[in-house]
């Protein structure tokens, strides 16, 4: 396994020092995680074979630093904050892959300043809304009983176990629940109560070549949203993934990593 380093840079008037997981070698790629926080997984591991992967932890979601979130009030702050993080990492124009909430952020970054995002990979992103296909509010879905059904093609499969399984040790259980809840709180700050914060007005500004990856069995953000994104981003390509729900990079890591690697190379 590749060595994964924790790197910190200080930004935002010295108020936020995010943790960024960095691994691999080769041209850089940024990965923005989903609502429940960053988990270094097989998919990211696969990308490190050809790329240096930078995976920042969303403010507030780093264990031991829950208060960073208080310095960012809204989506505009968060977008500008990310450009500062990229500056600090020396990334002028970089490919960004984002999953779910991270996908929405990647799209916002590419739309706000197209010069900063060279390629855009969106894996089951949120950010658009259709009244005929409302997106369930994931923050109030009962984690133990109902969340697996929304997130996974196979709710009892190994990927679901790995992502949602809880430790037996009571102390570790509390830490895991705390991290899960607080990560949802810190990401939810920018999308509650409806995950439509105006991307539809800005999305036409995206200039980066764009790949959309969607699980065919996504019950949280149904695949109809793939077309919703594709129709608004010039030249976007859609790849639907069999046997995958809202977490295709976790249920089909090798396949999705292959798609992304090819996209980044092409």
């Amino acid at each position: 396994m590749t060595t994964v380093a924790d790197r910190q840079v200080t930004v935002w008037q010295g108020k936020i020092t995010p943790n960024i997981k960095v691994a691999g070698s080769g041209p850089p790629v940024v990965f923005l995680h989903g609502a429940a926080g960053l988990a270094w997984d097989e998919f990211l591991e696969a990308l490190t074979a050809h790329h240096t992967v930078y995976a920042p932890e969303h403010p507030g979601t780093t264990v031991g630093d829950p208060d960073s979130i208080n310095h960012l009030d809204n989506l505009w702050d968060l977008v500008l904050y990310y450009y500062e993080v990229f500056d600090a990492l020396g990334l002028q124009s970089v490919p960004i892959i984002g999953h779910s909430f991270g996908g929405m952020m990647a799209a916002e970054l590419a739309a706000t300043n197209p010069a900063r995002v060279s390629k855009l990979g969106l894996i089951s992103p949120i950010g658009l809304w259709r009244d005929d296909t409302p997106i369930q509010n994931w923050m109030i879905i009962t984690p133990a009983t109902d969340l697996p059904k929304y997130l996974f093609y196979d709710p009892s499969g190994p990927a679901a176990q790995k992502v949602l399984g809880l430790p037996d040790d009571p102390q570790q259980l509390v830490e895991a629940q705390l991290h899960f809840h607080w990560s949802l709180a810190c990401t939810g700050k920018f999308v509650w109560p409806i995950p439509d914060k105006g991307l539809k007005k800005r999305i036409h500004r995206i200039k980066a070549p764009t790949l959309l990856v969607w699980g065919k069995g996504d019950k949280l953000v149904p695949p109809v949203y793939a077309q919703e994104f594709a129709s608004r981003i010039p030249g976007a390509r859609v790849e639907l993934v069999d046997h995958a729900g809202h977490m295709p990079s976790m249920e089909q890591p090798a396949y999705v990593a292959g798609l992304v690697r090819e996209f980044l190379r092409g």
Binding site: D67, M139, I140, G188, K189, W192
Partner: protein
């Protein structure tokens, strides 16, 4: 409702407790300052101003406030209301959530500098801190009685009171207890059992995720709640309980006047409660039965509780116009 009660009780020696307007869901919040001031005027200075954070279902789900912002909005609303009540001059408010060029409150409260403030809560650590720092009365809204979880809230709250160097005046704490009184213990069960079960089985049937979506509690309160899940656990097990359990565990204090008196007195002593609130209409309880319960409670039970703390403490959280040094009992 508050204005109707304020008018209907004119001239009576009783406070009007509005527990109250949900601060983070009130836009703009000086509206609360105005309405409370108006109630204070109508009641002749008998208002107690409740300042609830609001449930997550109310503020975040029905009104759309992001859960992580609920407390911050609450604090800003509180600060604005206090400034509106106490400023003699028009002022500009440049807040994070509210920007108001000219705050110019009218009417102004009769009670000066402002009516007593009560903070209802369900056991969050940060609400203990807020209440004690501002020297307000903390009202624990327990729907699960005065035993296990209430004891941990008691320890938490009074711990903060001591730690912040305040006195141990029992009137710093209010407590909500469900109460059902009848002629005898047996009669109480016949009268009230099905209404109490209806309340707990139907009306308090809340998914835990709705009670506290992520961010509703700040990080430290969440950490404490996860380590001490007693309050949330009670929601999960409600369906398994029957009337006997609700009565035995004193979720509801139910029985003859003597039984209710003894149990309530013990509960107030155990929790160190000066301001007791009783819920006398429970679940499907019909009007006539509610009147009976109310009548028996105030005739047979309340008089024995009123003088409980009188010899040692004064209720600084009671309207100045009404202060006789008596224990408050309200419904």
């Amino acid at each position: 409702m508050g204005s109707v009660l304020a008018r209907a009780t004119n001239g009576m020696e009783c406070a009007v407790i509005q527990l109250g307007s949900t601060l983070p869901a009130s836009q703009p919040p000086q509206r609360v300052a105005e309405e409370y001031a108006m109630l204070d005027c109508i009641s002749g200075g008998r208002l107690i101003a409740g300042m609830p954070l609001g449930s997550a279902m109310d503020v975040t789900m029905a009104y759309g406030v992001p859960p992580i912002e609920q407390r911050e909005r609450y604090r800003e609303s509180h600060d604005l209301i206090l400034k509106a009540w106490t400023s003699k001059e028009i002022f500009a408010w440049n807040g994070k959530y509210f920007q108001l060029p000219m705050v110019n409150l009218w009417p102004r409260p009769i009670q000066q500098p402002h009516p007593p403030i009560w903070i209802p809560g369900t056991g969050s650590t940060s609400t203990f801190d807020f209440t004690v720092e501002h020297d307000y009365c903390y009202c624990f809204l327990s729907y699960f009685g005065n035993k296990s979880a209430a004891r941990s809230v008691r320890d938490g709250y009074w711990g903060v009171v001591q730690q912040k160097g305040r006195d141990m005046n029992p009137y710093r704490m209010g407590f909500l207890q469900l109460v059902a009184v009848s002629e005898t213990d047996a009669r109480a069960e016949t009268d009230y059992a099905k209404h109490i079960e209806y309340f707990y089985h139907k009306l308090l049937h809340i998914p835990v995720e709705w009670f506290g979506p992520p961010g509703h509690q700040d990080y430290r309160s969440l950490s404490n709640s996860l380590r001490n899940p007693a309050i949330l656990q009670q929601f999960v097990t409600l369906k398994e309980k029957r009337f006997k359990d609700f009565a035995n565990d004193q979720f509801v204090i139910c029985g003859s006047p003597a039984t209710v008196r003894d149990q309530l007195k013990e509960a107030c002593e155990e929790l160190r409660i000066g301001n007791l609130m009783v819920l006398l209409q429970i679940g499907s309880m019909p009007h006539e039965l509610t009147l009976k319960n109310t009548d028996l409670f105030f005739r047979e039970v309340a008089p024995a509780l009123r003088p409980m703390w009188d010899d040692a403490w004064e209720n600084h959280w009671w309207p100045t116009t009404l202060r006789q040094g008596q224990t408050s009992v309200s419904a």
